[in-house]
């Protein structure tokens, strides 16, 4: 019994016209890629959030900034985005401080610029492939619809030179054409959901990064005031 069912689905796909088959293949590839990115982004964002939390805890627990910086530099291959921002800012700050004659606001501004640059890079990394999910979500239903319309056109054309038109003559063609829409929707729905979810998560991470940058600038400012 399962064999005939399998055959039914299979024959529906095999009997489809070339364009419909191409559309189905394309949508299958897109769906596969989008699922891959969904899982990959999910893991990336999860680890980014965990690392951010861990670093914030470390930073605000009153540790010495210098030792924190040394730890980050020694361990730079597996640190989170926020730690990278901190590292870039503090490196710039120490460099500027080493040069005699720079005033406090220049030092803080330099550190802030360095942090901003690292922040942009980190955001770019976090947001990579998200646009793919977005375009999958918006385009693949249309591609599926195109395949379906094409298939239905095909099956109606075969109806043209028949005298007694019955539903049975068009039904299989329409069913096989609708598979294209089904695949398109299957690719689109998770992509849209994941896109919305991930862009929300990334926005929240970005807000955390930005507020950390502000707070860290304040900390640096205070240090310069203490020095001078």
């Amino acid at each position: 019994m399962t064999l005939t069912q399998d055959l039914d689905l299979w024959t529906l796909i095999v009997n489809a016209s070339f364009v419909v088959k191409a559309v189905m293949l394309l949508l299958l590839a897109v769906s596969f890629l989008s699922w891959m990115f969904i899982f990959r982004k999910w893991m990336t964002i999860r680890s980014a959030r965990a690392q951010t939390e861990q670093f914030e805890r470390e930073f605000w627990s009153g540790n010495d900034i210098n030792s924190l910086y040394q730890g980050s530099v020694n361990n730079r291959h597996n640190i989170g985005s926020l730690e990278r921002i901190f590292e870039a800012g503090y490196r710039e700050f120490t460099k500027l401080r080493a040069q005699r004659g720079t005033d406090a606001s220049t030092m803080v501004d330099g550190a802030r610029r360095a942090m901003r640059a690292t922040y942009q890079r980190e955001m770019d990394h976090l947001e990579s492939h998200l646009s793919f999910l977005a375009s999958t979500g918006s385009v693949s239903p249309y591609v599926g619809l195109f395949g379906t319309v094409w298939g239905i056109m095909h099956s109606f054309r075969s109806l043209a030179n028949v005298q007694q038109a019955t539903l049975a003559q068009v039904a299989p063609g329409i069913a096989e054409a609708l598979i294209a829409t089904a695949i398109g929707l299957f690719a689109a729905i998770p992509a849209v959901v994941a896109y919305n979810r991930y862009s929300h998560d990334i926005d929240r991470l970005a807000i955390r990064f930005e507020s950390f940058m502000e707070e860290f600038s304040n900390v640096l400012q205070r240090q310069t005031v203490v020095r001078t």
Binding site: T2, Q5, S31, W35, R40, K95, A117, N161, Q169
Partner: protein
Amino acid sequence: MNATAANTMFDERIDPGRITSFLLAAAMHLALFAVLVFGVRWQNRPPEAVMVELWNEPPVAAPVVVEPKPAPPPVAVRPDPVLVKPDIAEKAPPPKPRAEPPKAPARPRDEEAQRQIREQLQREQTSFAVEREQQLLKEQLARDADAARRRGLLDYESKIRTKVRGNIVLPPELQGNPDAQFLVVQLPTGEVLSTKLVKSSGHRGYDEAVERAILKSSPLPKPDKVELFSRELRLTFRPKEKD
């Protein structure tokens, strides 16, 4: 320098779980495919219990009841001894012992023999009556079966004709209602092997349209009962079903 350091740092980044996500996506699609194949009931047909295809009618079961025929010899034997006796006397002695026994009891048992014969006749008559009754019954059954078969055959042919008719593209200049007869050779699957025009309708366009339609209708519908299938079908087509 700072920028280059940051750049190398950036380039070294690799997403965690590249392979894991690939495998997860593959698993996801396999699961979906499984749901599609096993979860959705794709146009279930009624279960076909028997898959044997009979190409010919199964042999009619031979009547098992064999009438125990009362042997006719007794009837023949009685006159025999009388006629044969002189021959036997003249000829060889060996047959004698065989001929003698009937002769000896013949006279004292004359009445009894007659009675026996009568009984015999009676029995034969009754058995004849029974046999005839059975014969009649069998004929009746055969007629019924024949009628059913013919009906099924007509049904089958009309099913084929309906399908073919759906594929006929009538030539526009056709007039009247000529009929064309075709001999269609098909496989047991209903696939059309060949068609031959047996009787032309007199209109070439129509003949060709019908032939094309028959070829396009392959596979032809199958009969309700497999024994109705025949390899060669003689089909008649008219532009209009009824005059």
